[in-house]
């Protein structure tokens, strides 16, 4: 590997491309500046936080979900943060991020959706919580351990951050009538208090 350059024709009279100028090995060289664009036409970016969620002791309990019913816009999941505190001694568990193929019937908290930029349009997502075993589960995206069990203890269970993916194809996309849900795999017990944050874009 060697430092080098390409020498262009002399500047013309048209538009100007922004560069940083440096002198490297006695040569005045230009490094072009660039801004990362999305392969998608992103129309808005959003976040929502659930209240503390108390579940019942059943398997595959749907803790919180995001659903796309829109025919023209898609949702790209950027981040899912799940944490928990044990209101009393609580069993270990496995939390899963899964696709939904039919929406749940839990408590709708879509009114709590925040725009990341106040100039963005209103979100088309439907966000629900505390949905027991309703809806239809699809494939499992990822699984995380809920480790702490002592009364009063808390933990960050997952920070599933897809906003830093260098290749956008790696992100989770929700087309029309598709969703993502945070579930607990095992029945566990009723003493967990889950908090879920979803972040996403729409295009």
């Amino acid at each position: 590997m060697a430092e080098s350059y390409i020498q262009l024709p002399a500047d013309a009279a048209g538009k100007k491309v922004r560069t940083i100028q440096k002198t490297i090995l006695a040569q005045t060289v230009q490094s072009q500046m660039h801004v990362r664009d999305s392969r998608r036409d992103i129309l808005g970016s959003y976040a929502v936080v659930t209240p503390e969620i108390t579940t019942t002791a059943v398997t595959n309990y749907r803790i919180a979900s995001i659903w796309n019913s829109n025919a023209t816009k898609k949702i790209v999941i950027k981040r899912v943060i799940v944490s928990n505190r044990c209101a009393a001694a609580s069993a270990v568990n496995v939390l899963q991020l899964r696709f939904l193929t039919a929406d749940v019937t839990g408590t709708d908290i879509s009114a709590n959706i925040a725009k990341k930029d106040s100039t963005d349009p209103a979100s088309i997502a439907t966000v629900k919580r505390t949905a027991a075993q309703t809806g239809t589960l699809g494939g499992v995206i990822a699984a995380y351990a809920k480790v702490t069990t002592a009364s009063g203890s808390s933990e960050l269970i997952c920070d599933y951050n897809m906003a830093n993916q260098s290749v956008e194809e790696d992100e989770i996309i929700l087309n029309q009538n598709e969703g993502l849900v945070v579930t607990k795999l095992l029945a566990g017990d009723v003493d967990d208090r889950f908090t879920v944050t979803f972040e996403w874009g729409e295009y």
């Binding site: 060697a2 002399a10 944490s83 830093n164």
Partner: protein
């Protein structure tokens, strides 16, 4: 079924001209000297400065107590983008939910000063109050985290500066802010360490 076949190749340009020089790295690949352009990442908006603030703030027995209010006042002529928020508890004793919430005003409390990440940057326009006596006007929550009774615990490293697309970052325009608050009553003996890192840009 085979995979995608990738073939090393190159584009051969006209011979160098007499104008400016575009910086490259030269490598020898398959016996060919090839040029790889060197680039510098830029921001969508006109960058003015990068700042941080890190405070250790005592808790409160008040429901909805706001530890920190961070605000971009009307007339600042800047747009702020939140790059990271770190939350850590020490001498913790009371279970709670800690929330980062958008606001439409600045809360009243102890005035705090932003730290420049480079002394050459201009002063931050952010208004920052801690230990609030009058709460900021709340909008929607943007981040939430459970807090147990554990004495010392890292609650969350909310890192956003590695977001590939700036659209994924939280934007504070004039008249907008955030607070770090607790959902339920806490304790005056607890401390929450809060770090907020952000960048500022001109609005045009």
């Amino acid at each position: 079924m085979g995979g995608i076949l990738i073939v090393e190749s190159y584009i051969q340009l006209p011979a160098d001209g007499a104008g400016k020089k575009v910086r490259t790295i030269q490598k020898i690949i398959a016996a060919n000297p090839v040029q790889i352009e060197q680039q510098v990442a830029d921001s969508l908006l006109n960058f003015q400065g990068a700042y941080t603030i890190c405070l250790r703030i005592a808790g409160s027995a008040s429901v909805g107590y706001q530890f920190l209010s961070f605000y971009n006042a009307a007339g600042s002529e800047r747009i702020l983008k939140i790059k990271g928020i770190k939350l850590m508890v020490d001498i913790g004793s009371v279970a709670n939910q800690v929330l980062v919430t958008r606001t439409t005003s600045l809360g009243t409390g102890t005035s705090e000063t932003a730290v420049k990440k480079n002394s050459a940057y201009s002063a931050s326009v952010a208004s920052i109050s801690s230990v609030l006596t009058v709460n900021a006007a709340l909008d929607k929550d943007v981040v939430g985290i459970a807090k147990g009774t554990t004495a010392t615990l890292r609650l969350l490293d909310y890192v956003n500066w590695d977001a590939i697309l700036e659209r994924d970052q939280l934007v504070l325009r004039e008249g907008e802010g955030i607070v770090v608050q607790q959902l339920s009553a806490g304790a005056t003996t607890e401390f929450l360490s809060i770090t907020v890192e952000w960048e500022e840009y001109t609005t045009s």
